[in-house]
């Protein structure tokens, strides 16, 4: 409470210093991400600074931070608390942080950070901690039990205040569980909320960080929380960037989110009873964003199952990108060049030096911004050329035969920081690229890709699937292929299905029986009775009508979004492309997409979705953009926000960026998602 008054500093000071960059294809709404970032940071700082037991900000207290998941720690400490885009590193080669080092503000006494599910030494913290702050997600109910256990272990000391922070807010179930677990009666436990709805991971990627999204609606059948969270986030986004005049939604969840969004808007409008009367019927105009597309992940379950072939996608596949950071062994990006001969010795070194580091991978690194979406066939040589160019420019200058005047030297000195920054980033990425390339050149990777392709093209690969289980292929990699097979062929043939399931259970374990069950519930896996003819799956139809396979695509100088996986274009992205031309006469596509397509305009005063649907818009999204361009500044494309309800993959992000940059596509795209994920993390979230 008081923290705000006492400490107007920190954020407010910097605010005045921020100079917004002009909008670009990769940063179409500079103000939005900056505003959200500042807001989030201020909220978190205020919370960390306020002492829950005394209410006065001035008193100093020692605080331990406990996070529900590793991902949440990365998000809050690396993304929210310190802007990863603005961070500089000390040291010669360094461009990373040690894994357990977090750039925390000095004004707060934080004695450490922990992850909830890890074993913790309760006794050692007991002596020197006043407040333990837990950051939890309300959707993950199992965290509550862990917290209760944690608190019970520390119960001996009543002096410690436990505060449970729910992002964005605790639900009624959480309150009930607190009661059941006996936490509400304890005087030293308090519940708080932290209303950070949207986290700008990149200038063009905003995330709600709702990890349980797809699971909650597809497996648990309780989609309400997700729907209202996404709708509320969209409302907040509109608070920052202005009301969005045009909204399209695909898939059942898309429609639900749109409905909730409309009804929230109406609620908000009516809650202000003392507002002036308004004339009715106007379509809203004047915001920064022209259109919004909401896509239910259910519309495109195929894409997450496909192996990505862009640098970023592969990096995620191999190392795993979480909230814009990768965690790996320091020797990967900083190999000790002295002892690479003796294998035995190297093993010893490895054991000794298993130091994990965190490395930010985001668009503010200009080199990474350029290389991230390049195809596997391109980025290797690209990085080599970069290295060569850098070396040359350096050599050019240091060579003694050339004479330089003072201005040149001055220019060079000025460029040194940029130069070293680029060099650091380049070294990192060359090492990472080697790692990635190494994986992508493995036979198994190639075989996997070939199998994916033949399944996409309509073949059935049951025998290969059999073999993969028998070889104890990693379970989630196998499920990706299995689900892909089921999705593309409209199910797995009944006879094969039973034997495959048995194989899975025997090979991977009994618990996988339930994971299979969840995959079935989520619609990723289906039994298919043999009576039907093999060619009539929805995917097969979509493949033709949306031209999903484009084997001729140029992967080095891409001319089509399908370059992201060497010839397959993500369904969701193709839908966006088609939406530009409108849906008239494209019933063959609409028929194959679950749910119906909602295409509405936001009016003022607001209406609910049902009445908005009565007056369908008369312009296609493409035509709308043309009007905007004609009205607005020349050469500036209007902005489209694409919302993925249930997560987005790097493959799709690459494709969207590709579109955003292309002159022929009428919009700049900002992506809002519940989580950035990949096939494996997607399937894991379901189990």
């Amino acid at each position: 409470m008081l923290a705000n008054m006492d400490n107007p500093g920190i954020v407010a000071d910097k605010e005045s210093e921020i100079i917004l960059p002009p909008p670009t294809p990769l940063n179409p709404l500079p103000a939005v991400s900056v505003a959200l970032r500042l807001d989030n940071k201020e909220q978190l700082l205020t919370l960390l600074q306020s002492d829950p037991s005394a209410g006065l900000a001035s008193s100093s207290f020692r605080q331990l931070l406990v996070f529900g998941t590793e991902s949440l720690r990365t998000l809050l400490l690396r993304q929210v608390l310190s802007d990863p885009h603005a961070r500089t590193f000390q040291g010669k080669k360094k461009n990373w942080d040690s894994h357990l080092f977090f750039p925390l503000p000095a004004s707060i006494t934080i004695v450490g950070t922990q992850i909830l599910n890890q074993e913790h030494g309760g006794d050692e913290t007991e002596g020197n901690v006043d407040v333990i702050t837990y950051f939890l997600s309300p959707a993950d109910l199992s965290q509550m039990h862990l917290v209760a256990k944690y608190i019970r272990n520390l119960k001996k000391s009543f002096r410690i205040h436990h505060r449970l922070i729910f992002l964005p807010q605790p639900s009624a179930i959480i309150h009930k569980m607190m009661k059941d677990l006996g936490l509400t009666s304890a005087p030293n436990v308090s519940i708080h909320r932290l209303q950070m709805d949207i986290y700008p991971l990149e200038t063009d990627v905003l995330s709600i960080e709702y990890n349980e999204a797809f699971r909650e609606c597809a497996v648990e059948s309780t989609p309400s929380s997700l729907i209202s969270t996404v709708a509320r986030s969209l409302l907040k986004l509109q608070d920052v960037c202005g009301k969005i005049p045009r909204i399209q939604a695909y898939g059942p969840l898309g429609e639900e989110v749109a409905r909730k969004l409309f009804s929230l808007t109406v609620d908000e409008y009516l809650a202000d009873r003392d507002r002036p009367e308004e004339q009715s019927g106007q379509v809203i105009s004047g915001g920064d964003v022209t259109a919004l597309i909401i896509i239910d992940r259910k519309v495109d379950l195929v894409t997450p199952m496909i192996s990505p072939l862009t640098y970023e996608g592969l990096l995620d596949d191999v190392v795993g990108i979480d909230c814009g950071f990768i965690t790996l062994d320091v020797s990967t990006i900083n190999p000790d060049e002295n002892d690479n001969t003796d294998a035995l010795k190297q093993d010893q070194v490895k054991e000794k030096k298993k130091e994990l580091v965190s490395l930010g991978v985001n668009g503010s690194d200009t080199l990474y911004a350029e290389v991230r979406d390049q195809h596997v066939e391109k980025f290797g040589s690209f990085l080599q050329n970069q290295a060569k160019a850098l070396r040359e420019s350096h050599a050019n200058f240091t060579s003694k035969d050339k004479k330089k005047d003072l201005a040149e030297i001055h220019q060079f000195v000025k460029n040194i920081p940029v130069f070293t920054q680029n060099l650091r980033s380049l070294t990192n990425h060359i090492h990472l690229a080697e790692l990635v390339k190494h994986t992508s050149e493995e036979t198994t990777f190639r075989e996997r890709w070939q199998m994916e392709r033949s399944i996409l093209e309509g073949d059935t690969c049951y025998d290969m699937l059999d073999d993969l289980v028998a070889c104890q292929f990693p379970p989630y990699r196998f499920f990706r292929l299995l689900c892909l097979q089921s999705l593309c062929a409209g199910g797995i043939k009944s006879s094969r299905y039973d034997s495959l399931r048995r194989d899975v259970i025997q090979t991977y374990g009994y618990e996988y029986l339930f994971i299979l069950g969840n995959l079935e519930k989520a619609g990723l896996l289906r039994r298919r009775d043999g009576l039907w003819i093999d060619t009539t799956s929805p995917f097969n139809n979509l493949r033709k009508s949306l031209i999903l396979i484009n084997a001729e695509v140029d992967t080095v100088e891409p001319d089509d979004v399908s370059y992201v996986s060497s010839g397959y274009a993500p369904i969701s992205v193709r839908l966006i492309q088609t939406a530009m031309k409108g849906w008239n006469g494209r019933d063959e596509i609409l028929r194959e997409i679950p749910g119906r397509i909602v295409d509405v305009e936001q009016h003022s005063p607001p209406q609910d979705l049902a009445s908005a649907l009565k007056t369908p818009p008369n312009k296609t999204l493409g035509a709308l953009a043309e009007v905007e361009v004609a009205d607005g500044v020349k050469g500036k494309k209007p902005v489209l926000i694409v919302t993925y309800v249930g997560g987005v993959t790097f493959t799709e992000l690459a494709a969207l960026r590709f579109l955003s940059k292309r002159p022929s596509f009428p919009y700049h795209i900002v992506c809002l998602t519940t989580k950035v994920m990949n096939g494996c993390s997607f399937l894991q979230s379901l189990s």
Partner: protein
């Protein structure tokens, strides 16, 4: 009435007719007399006593009450002492054997009265809440029935109102009752501190109640509600306990302060306490002042429990026995044991006054209160009321009755007696200046001129013209207006308003801007003053009985007045006032909804008629339903309370706000409807609270817990939305007993899910016996389902596998042979791998693996794969070779062998042995590449006549020799 050309007088004229009846009554009530004649001077400040209601009948709906006219109430059963025949003596006897507590709501609000015997001469008493004019707002027997066994009327220690109009009654052992103005219990009675220790004193202050126990501990209960910021309770002291009301709208924060330790350490005792409201402290939490036996005061910060001695020993010469804060919180009136009234600043730094009362009485006054902000009023039984001013001046007001109760207010004090209410007030400065005898203020001259004009005695308006010429006319007019609002007498109010209006004739200029005529600020003030007076007069009307002064009205704000009227059960008046004053729409809607609720409670007629009438009241002429969301639900709840569920349902059809509709539906018992609405609105919290609410109602309506549970689950399965069902399932899954969730799922015939829940619990179980039990149960549940054959089979297999693993471990006497695992494959693999450690038992182990594979019907191909992988992983290369050379031809070919050898970094010869047995050229090529046998790979590519493969070898091989060969081959292939 006011005669004026001012167009803005019109609304007054118009509403005057509406209020005629009221003002005529009031005209009779007050009599016109020269105001200044009754003033009394305290030093040079004039004070006045304004009788508001005389001959008040303090009503009681109980016919048995013996003293109808009094605030005191005695039960019939109380035996009359026969020897006292004189009614005055009887009265006196009553007064000496009982104590009547009378407290009033601040800002002229209602009065609570309660008589308690000093000895336990009667068990129960009446707790009444009355208006100032003596009408009953609520009446109930006290203590409530369920507490009568333990407590009697004699236990009442203290009562009082908080600033949020909550009536608090504290008993001797700190049990605390809270009521609203309707007499409804807000919070379940709670103890402020440990119940075993009797209290010395309890004081109700603006924000709650503070107590002092006989063993010198203090405690405070802050009464809060949903208007208070949620964070406040989080910042309270760690030991503070929160007590919530059933509907979560009110709560109390109880903090026990261990002051006895302090007292022991400093060898002192505490005699009285006072609470400094959190609105005035720097810590933003209340502070407790405790007077000590060593002439000082201890200040206790409630949020930190910090205790500070303010050390005022130099300023106070004997222990303080009573302390009262001035309404503005800047001064503290203290009464000491040696009968000295000391007024001191709240910081205890400056002493304002010392006044010795010992000449009049050696007693401690029965009441000490502030009158406004600049005088202290003391009352002694039998001596009347003494008023002491800031400079030690004093006045004595005789009161005939001894039953005098003083209520402090921000600008005056109310004096309540057995038959009358009056206000004791410092004459407002404007009035004093203007109306004092012989005043030569311009405003006084204006009043005189106006009086003369209306009396028709003289038409000389030169005085006014002189004033106008000196530019003081407007300020004179404004003074008149101001003074008018501070008058209670309607005749006087009219006289002053008339004077103001008369003056405005000489000065009125309309301001024109952009062609629109604007009223002058003075004219606007005139209208505002007239409106305020109208409202105040209406409130003071005996049938409302609310005596607010102008300053109190300003302090409450018009919206606050409306809210209080609703709390006072005068929604119709609240409604018309909010409309008359043009308050914000939200306030008007709230008032209308309250009015409709009151109507519904009392209305008769068919459901449709009542609902329609209620709707009309809610709409109040504006036809837009959406504007009034929330209002319908409020009224529907009231209808339901009044036993008109039909009306409630009709009204709820019109409600569009989910936030209001769901609770209303819940209160009418329409759980399935509530669930449908909550689901449609996509609100998880409402979905869940509907479930919990329904479960609670099932459990309270039935004595048999298991039956109630069954009814609950049955309804959830059959009538609630799927999402409701799944939400309950998710919640039950978190509970400790797995039966909770399986019961639900089995009832819903979802055997697969039920078995899954059971089996998942089994997977988490560490105890082997328990695990087997859970698995058996899961298997049984699976067997009930239709398409759960695989589930059942797998579950049985798993149970069997655990047993087999156990057997293997005992047989080989090593845990590594079959570590606990749920996978058949990994069990077979671990058995095979164990052969690498236990060479002697190789054959037995391999045959065990064989047996396992057969038992679990592992297909041959997969078994081979398992063998190859396991052998390779445990470095049993010779065994791998033996396997490859066994009589049966490998059903998986030899590629996996080759690959295993390559990955295991075996010699090229070893690898080649396997590759040679692979027949397909493509596969051979791939394997050669993988093994980095570039030459052989190149050959293979040549055989395949594939330039792409050749090129591939060329780029990858990193050897000049092979690159040359590759070029050569490319040349050949190109031909």
């Amino acid at each position: 009435m006011v005669a004026s050309s001012n167009p803005f007088d019109d609304p007054i004229a118009e509403t005057e007719t509406a209020y005629t009846e009221q003002s005529s009554v009031e005209d009779k009530e007050f009599s016109a007399s020269p105001a200044e004649a009754s003033w009394q001077y305290l030093g040079d400040l004039p004070y006045r006593r304004i009788p508001i209601y005389s001959h008040v009948q303090w009503r009681s709906s109980c016919p048995s009450s013996m003293q109808q006219n009094c605030l005191a109430w005695y039960p019939q059963g109380l035996s009359k002492p026969q020897h006292l025949v004189d009614p005055k003596e009887i009265r006196n006897w009553y007064q000496t054997t009982t104590q009547t507590h009378v407290k009033a709501c601040p800002h002229g609000g209602p009065i609570a009265a309660c008589t308690a015997p000093l000895t336990d001469s009667f068990r129960t008493t009446q707790l009444r809440i009355l208006t100032n004019s003596g009408q009953i707002l609520s009446q109930q027997e006290f203590p409530p029935a369920e507490y009568r066994e333990r407590y009697g009327a004699v236990d009442i220690l203290c009562l009082g109102f908080t600033s949020r109009t909550t009536l608090v009654v504290v008993l001797n052992d700190s049990l605390c009752f809270t009521y609203n103005l309707k007499g409804q219990t807000l919070l379940q009675p709670f103890y402020v501190c440990q119940e075993s220790i009797p209290l010395l004193q309890a004081k109700v202050y603006e924000g709650g109640v503070a107590v002092l126990t006989k063993n010198q501990d203090a405690a405070i209960a802050e009464l809060l509600d949903h208007h208070d910021e949620e964070e406040y309770s989080q910042t309270a002291h760690l030991s503070a306990q929160r007590i919530d009301s059933d509907d979560m709208s009110h709560y109390a924060l109880v903090t026990i302060l261990p002051t006895s330790e302090y007292a022991k350490r400093h060898f002192c005792t505490f005699s009285t306490l006072a609470v400094f409201s959190r609105l005035r402290t720097t810590s933003q939490h209340p502070e407790l002042f405790l007077s000590t036996s060593d002439n000082s005061v201890i200040l206790v910060e409630v949020s930190t429990m910090k205790m500070t001695d303010v050390d005022c020993r130099a300023r106070v010469n004997s222990p303080i026995v009573d302390m009262v804060f001035a309404p503005n919180g800047r001064f503290l009136a203290c009464f000491t044991e040696s009968c000295i009234l000391t007024v001191i600043s709240t910081s205890f730094e400056t002493k304002v006054l010392d006044f010795d009362t010992s000449e009049g009485s050696q007693q401690i006054p029965s009441q000490m209160e502030w009158c406004g902000e600049d005088s202290v009023v003391l009352h002694w039984k039998g001596l009347g009321v003494l008023m002491v001013g800031p400079y030690g001046d004093w006045l004595r007001f005789p009161y005939e009755d001894d039953t005098v109760y003083i209520v402090p207010e921000i600008d005056c004090c109310r004096v309540i007696t057995d038959s009358a209410i009056e206000i004791l007030q410092r004459v407002p400065p404007v009035t004093a200046q203007m109306l004092s005898i012989g005043s030569i203020e311009t405003s006084a001259m204006l009043v005189d001129a106006s009086d003369a004009f209306y009396a028709g005695t003289s038409a000389d308006d030169s005085t006014v013209r002189d004033i106008a010429a000196s530019d003081q006319l407007l300020s004179a007019v404004e003074t008149c207006l101001e003074a008018a609002t501070r008058e209670f007498d309607i005749v006087q109010q009219k006289r002053l308003l008339r004077a103001a209006s008369y003056g405005m004739h000489f000065s009125y200029k309309s301001i024109e801007s952009k062609g629109v005529v604007q009223p002058s600020p003075t004219a606007q003030e005139f209208v505002a003053a007239a409106r305020k007076l109208r409202v105040l007069n209406r409130l003071r009307h005996p049938n409302v009985g609310w005596i607010a002064t102008s300053a109190q009205y300003d302090a409450m704000t018009p919206i606050g007045v409306v809210a209080r009227l609703i709390a006072l059960q005068r929604p119709a008046l609240a409604c018309s006032i909010s409309q008359y004053l043009g308050l914000p729409k939200s306030v008007q809607i709230f008032a209308r909804a309250s009015k409709a609720a009151a109507y519904v409670m009392a209305a008769e007629g068919t459901d449709a008629q009542v609902a329609e009438a209620a709707t009309e009241i809610i709409l109040g002429g504006a036809g837009d339903h959406s504007l009034h969301r929330g209002a319908y639900a409020t009224v529907a709840m009231a209808a339901n309370q009044a036993g008109r569920p039909g009306v409630a349902n009709l009204l709820l059809l019109l409600e569009t706000s989910v936030v209001d509709k769901v609770p209303a539906l819940l209160s009418t018992g329409a759980y399935a409807d509530a669930m449908a609405v909550a689901t449609q609105a996509r609100d998880l919290d409402f979905i869940f609270s509907t479930l919990m609410e329904y479960e609670r109602s099932c459990l309270t309506n039935s004595n048999d817990v298991s039956k109630a549970q069954a009814a609950f689950l049955g309804m959830v399965v059959s009538k609630f939305t799927p999402e409701g069902f799944h939400t309950l399932r998710r919640y039950l899954q978190t509970t400790a007993d797995v039966k909770n969730v399986t019961n639900l799922l089995i009832r819903a015939q979802q055997f697969g899910a039920a078995g899954t829940a059971m089996a998942q619990r089994a997977l988490k179980e560490h105890d082997a016996r328990e695990k087997q039990g859970l698995l058996a149960e899961a298997s049984r549940i699976f067997s009930l389902g239709k398409d759960t054959a695989l589930h059942k089979a797998s579950t049985d297999d798993y149970a069997e596998l655990i047993r087999d693993q156990e057997t293997l471990r005992t047989k080989h006497n090593a845990p590594e042979v079959a570590p606990p695992s749920s996978s058949v494959t990994s069990t077979i693999a671990s058995v095979i791998k164990f052969a690498a450690i236990q060479m002697r038992d190789q054959h037995r182990l391999f045959s065990d693996a064989d047996k396992l594979a057969k038992k679990y019907r592992v297909p041959e191909k997969r078994f081979w794969h398992i063998q190859v992988t396991a052998l390779a992983e445990s470095q049993q290369w010779s065994n791998l070779r033996i396997l490859s050379e066994s009589k049966t031809k490998s059903p998986i070919g030899y590629k996996p062998f080759a690959r295993a050898a390559i990955r295991g970094k075996q010699s090229s010869a070893e690898i080649l042995k396997y590759i040679d047995r692979v027949s397909a050229n493509e596969e051979r090529y791939d394997l050669f590449c993988e093994a980095s046998l570039w030459k052989r790979a190149l050959e293979e590519a040549g055989k395949l006549k594939d330039t792409r493969r050749v090129l591939n070898v060329k780029t990858l091989c990193n050897s000049n020799e092979i690159q040359l060969l590759a070029d050569e081959m490319l040349g050949r292939l190109a031909q």
